[in-house]
Subunit: 135 residues, 2 copies
DNA sequence: TTATCCTGTTAGACAAAGTCTAGAAAACAA
DNA sequence: TTGTTTTCTAGACTTTGTCTAACAGGATAA
């Protein structure tokens, strides 16, 4: 998924017009499963890449990707959102000392008995976060 | 737990000097199990109360209460932290449409098989968030 | 071709949450 | 009381993220 044509196809398949900026951002994100903040992506686009993108475009694009299901927002740190390029079911360790976010495979946690949702609502995602600290 | 003396005892028991401002904030928080943001508490202290407190004191106090285990920070909304006056084990629904945070009793979810923690780390809390939306 | 339209990008102003600083006020100890 | 420490405070500051209004550039119509 690091090939430029694959990225373009992936965006098209999700109904996202593959502009220069979006393809740049997607190439960074989809190079491998990872957790990046908007600020990190902004820096990466404007350092390692040929083309550039503004802050507004970074946020617009990440919001669009999230809406289209291409990335998942992970909210574990009050100071910034992480964008996760792995959208398959999995959970997270969050190291509160280092700020490091790491994956827990879906099959490493088993949840039986989920509660009934409140009236008039439907599920929009299940999150499990194991906060850890250095010992 | 709405009695002023009880609040003072509770703070002392946790090693927190019961100053005027801390007792005010604690009275609001511990009146019942609830989820409040720093801004909400700031407003409540300066409207419904005899004494007042500054923004810095609200944040200092909430940080202190969290460190002493009197409240639990709940991070589900990227724009603000919720302070939970219920520190016993339980989980949360977060309605992304309304911003409402509600409790899931501990016994409504059963998790067996928790993953091994990464080397050199220890657990600091397990969070389960069921994101919901209005249907 | 040229005008018009539409979508996306942009700089930078703006908003909101939270942190920090330096001085004032309380609380405390002797 | 006097000296010492802790707490409180206003407001400047930082950071993340949003908004606006202008602009670019490709598609399309005439
Ligand atoms: Mn924020
Ligand atoms: Mn509960
Ligand atoms: Zn992940
Ligand atoms: Zn709760």
């Amino acid at each position: 998924m690091s090939n430029r044509d694959d990225i373009v196809s992936k965006l098209k398949a999700s109904g996202v017009t593959p502009t220069t900026q979006r393809v740049e951002i997607a190439q960074i994100l989809f190079a491998r499963p990872q957790h990046l903040s908007a600020e990190q992506i902004l820096k990466m686009v404007n350092q390692e890449s040929s083309s550039t993108a503004s802050k507004a475009t970074i946020y617009n694009t990440l919001g669009l990707f999230a809406k289209k299901g291409l990335v998942k927002e992970v909210i574990v740190d009050p100071s910034k959102v992480f964008y996760d390029s792995n959208v398959s079911k999995h959970f997270h360790f969050y190291n509160i000392d280092s700020g490091e976010l790491t994956d827990i495979p879906a099959d490493a946690i088993h949840i039986d008995k989920l509660p009934n949702l409140p009236q008039g609502t439907e599920s929009s995602g299940l999150e499990v976060i194991v906060r850890i600290k250095n010992s």
